[in-house]
Amino acid sequence: MSIQTILETMEYGVAPEDDSHARAWLDAHKDGFGHYINGEMTKPGALFETRDPASDTVLAQVSQGTQGDVDAAVAAARKAQPDWAKLSGHQRAKHLYALARHIQQHSRLLAVLETLDSGKPIRESRDIDIPLVARHFYHHAGWAEILEDEMPGHVAHGVCGQIIPWNFPLLMLAWKIAPALAAGNTVVLKPAEYTPLTALAFAEIAIECGIPKGVINIVTGDGETGAAIVGHEGIDKLAFTGSTEVGRILRERTAGSGKALTLELGGKSPFIVFGDADLDAAVEGVVDAIWFNQGQVCCAGSRILVAESVAGQFETLLRARMKTLRTGDPMDKSTDVGAIVHPVQLSRIRDLVEQGASDGATLHQASAPQGCYFPPTLVTDVEPASILSTEEIFGPVVTLTTFRTPSDAVALANNTRYGLAASIWSENVNLCLDIGAQVKAGIIWINCTNIFDAGAGFGGYRESGFGREGGREGMRAYLRNPAAATGKGKGSTPEPLATGPADTIKSGEIDRTAKLYIGGKQARPDSGYSYQVKGSKAVVGLAGLGNRKDIRNAVEAASKTKGWGKATGHNRAQVLYYIGENLSARAGEFTERLESLGGNRKAAQAEVETAITRCFWYAAQADKFDGAVHSTKSEFVTLAMNEPIGVLGLVAPSAQPLLGAISLVLPAIAMGNSVVLVPSQAHPLAATDLYQVFDTSDLPGGVVNIVTGPRDELAKTLAAHDGVDAIWYFGDHSGCKMVETQSAGNLKQSWTEADDARDWAGRGGQGRLFLERATQVKNIWVPYGV
């Protein structure tokens, strides 16, 4: 084309990235890739194709991982783990540093492979994915170095099974492998079947760097290979990033296995534009939110909520911006939106969009070429019930809805099962922080979106999963503290309940009735039954036989206590101190109660004394267990805030009925949660005595609710309740499994343990672990600049 012609049109022309080096690397492996097990590449097994979605051509043949491959990988990881963990932090740091350096040295090869395999634009793999991969390894080389000083007493889980998605293939590998290795774990990782190539290139880089054999193992394959990892007995911790659907299956399959689990799942993140926002900036934000990586981003801002006052102007600007988006060849340096990863995914997007359109939504689409492409799409006239508003589309499709007021915006933002991220646009910092606090999401981007850094935690609320990746909170997910939990424990199984009248019960002069405690009021059990509470010799009293309706009422009462979570740490501390004070005033009464249940006087006194101390300890923590300001990017303040989780179900250990209950309730309420407590089934009266203490300690009604009765039946109702945000269960092994299985429903966080696995009277019964379990970290990104 002549210069003169181009001067007329001023078109960009084509600017293809050179793929010859990547093609040469693929050519060198044209016989197929094996797995990376025990430090070397295995011989290729049964092969399947991995394709370039943009050109619909085969790139390479990779091996379908078998049960045998997974066994070999786990065995290699198991064998390597003790030595790897025994290395000094500095030695592990040197290995991670080498990986970071070599990733940079091979950066363009990795970027080109990523784009070929996934269809994402070369600009993104070159400027975003691969630099973040290197950053992640550098950051975690640092964690390896300082871990002993920063997190004393913590040790690695052991062998980690890691399953990652196709949207950020190498970046997700980095997010999984870097912290695991820093902590002293060894790993078995399965890349997504659509996008295994950069993981295999990474395996060669690991060999080049001299990573000790067995420390990293990579097995390629499909869902069956993944299932072999999930079900493998030799795995101590599982980390998964992918769909909520598969995450739920993982939760169910691993229930009761004792494997630690973190899940990074789907999202339907709101993108909230207020009337005083820089609208041009917000429009560009939409581009970065939903037309980044073809919208195949779990934290994509896929629901635009815009103030009615500026909605027309915003939509005009956005639709104008859509006209300059370039969708096409991912290898062209001027491409904004590349190919959809796979035809299967493309047809899923098409189906959802067609369904939404047939329900009355209006589509505004930019142009896209033929092939595995989907045009950038804005959807208007869409109602909250539309499938396009509720389902994660995982494509370049964004809905636009208007709101009237900030509270309206919050209501719409939180009207979702998910809670991964939110983006908030306004020039009013007061408004931004207020809304940021109210939106239920793990990541809040103010006047920006899709900003990532290894130094900040990433992860969601609600059905977007649990656990964090990146930052201090991410490191914690790959460590455990063996000093706190003394052993595995057998767990106790309570005796069957006796509901009929008992022999004569010795008591004081006037009969006392222990009721349930719901919404700050004593309540009779819905069942109308009571059950016998046995002491060392005889029945010492009756307790209400709670059932699922009592749990339902208690959860409802707990979810209504909005003020408690917003109260200052100081205010909550005052209440906890007051509980300690009143418990102390009634120490004699509680001691007698414990004695009557079978303890000796000295033990009873010690239990009460420890309970009082614990009140003070958590009162002290209430205004001190605070967050952090992460060091991330320049001109950003990244706030990591410890937020209450919401409504917690607490199933207390059987022994030490007062201390067990109070050890769970105090950290939960100190952090601003409200709770439904199921006290020791056998000895609930020490816990029901507490409600008079609560009543006299200025504890708002509904913050603590107590339902006595059959432990596992009540635990099951709590675990299956969608209004319960987390559950702690201390019981027996079958109960642990049941709770974890039931928790899959709304993917609530669960903490299950045999109730005799820790020393409740000692350090095992109190500490930062309880506070960490009672909070979730919200990372708020606030950019600044005049």
Partner: protein, 338 residues
């Protein structure tokens, strides 16, 4: 399935045009309307992010790159604004303006000999007669700075007289500087009155309003000052004198051209944009052109709506073009001095 592809104006925004406009009328200006900029917010961090990624989102290579660099030459206001300017210096500059790239490069690019010139030559008022003489017959306009350039703190009647004098000497374009004090104190009416008077003094000469954005500092003030200058009748808005410590930057340019777009959406006027000062490399010429094309469209790549205030950048462009033609990297000593 309802699909809407054509875009209509609904709010205050202008849809980027794609086809070239042959002609557009001069901006007559309008009364001050503070509603067009008060309450408009510019977010600095987001503006910088857009600029940082914008130039990574678009790439022009090979003959396209050569064409884009040739286009940049068409848009250069070749400038000398120094205390030691002389008739001889101006004459040399004008020779370069007539023949901005060497004939062998021109030929290698397949361009008609002598057809490529810069957009204008920009000088101090007393140098205007020398430039007019040196450019006689070339159709290259002479631009003169005026109004007490660069600080603009002379009495108003003297600043206006300076404009009239430069126009009388043959300047076809006047680059005025705004009174920064009026902008920094928010005296928008005062600023509007002054610039309107300057526009009147320009007569048929086109007026470029220099905002000296490095001294306005905040992007909200840049947006407001841009809007006031256009309301007062500026044909172009220009970033800098070249004498501030911070001159043309992409973020400031983005804010100014969005103001220009918003002004156009309300009035229908097409206003020109001129970044000036600090641009030295050919790749910067590409970056600013990408900015113009992405944000405003093809029209704003023509010299009637877009100029670069630069001088040394031309030398780098010439070297890059020689490389395109010969495949060898050229040294500046082989190219004619500006």
């Amino acid at each position: 399935m309802k699909t809407q592809t054509d875009l209509k104006l609904r709010g205050g925004a202008l849809v980027p045009a794609t086809a070239a406009h042959p002609e557009h009328p001069r901006n007559p200006g309008m009364k001050l309307d503070v509603a067009m900029f008060e309450g408009h917010h510019v977010n600095r961090a987001a503006t910088e992010r857009r600029c940082a990624t914008l130039t990574a989102r678009r790439s022009v290579k090979k003959e396209h790159q050569a064409a884009w660099l040739v286009n940049a030459v068409r848009c250069v206001d070749l400038t000398t604004l120094a205390g030691d300017d002389t008739a001889g210096r101006v004459k040399r500059l004008c020779a370069k303006a007539r023949q901005p790239i060497a004939p062998h490069i021109e030929a290698g690019l397949g361009l008609k000999p002598g057809a490529l010139t810069v957009g204008a030559v920009c000088v101090y008022p007393t140098m205007v007669p020398h430039a007019v003489k040196a450019l006689d017959g070339s159709n290259i306009p002479v631009a003169s700075v005026a109004t007490g350039f660069p600080a603009g703190l002379m009495p108003l009647h003297l600043r206006l007289e300076e404009i009239r004098w430069a126009v009388a000497q043959g300047a076809a374009e006047i680059d005025i500087v705004i009174n920064r004090e009026l902008a920094l104190t928010g005296n928008w009416q005062g600023l509007h009155d002054e610039i309107s008077a300057m526009r009147e003094a320009c007569g048929d000469a086109h007026m470029k309003a220099i905002l000296a954005t490095g001294e306005l500092e905040t992007l909200n003030t840049v947006y407001a000052a841009s809007m006031v200058a256009m309301q007062a009748g500026a044909d172009f808005i220009k970033t800098s004198t070249g004498k501030e410590s911070v001159n043309a930057t992409l973020p400031v340019s983005l804010v100014m051209i969005r103001a220009l777009r918003d002004f156009g959406a309300v009035t229908g006027q097409m206003i020109g944009f001129k970044p000036a000062g600090g641009m030295k490399q050919a790749k910067e010429a590409l970056a600013w052109q990408i900015l113009m094309k992405e944000e405003l469209g093809r029209d704003w790549l023509n010299p009637d709506l877009f100029r670069f205030g630069a001088s040394s950048m031309l030398g780098d462009i010439e070297r890059q073009l020689e490389h395109h033609v010969t495949g060898r990297y050229a040294d500046s000593s082989r190219h004619a001095l500006a």
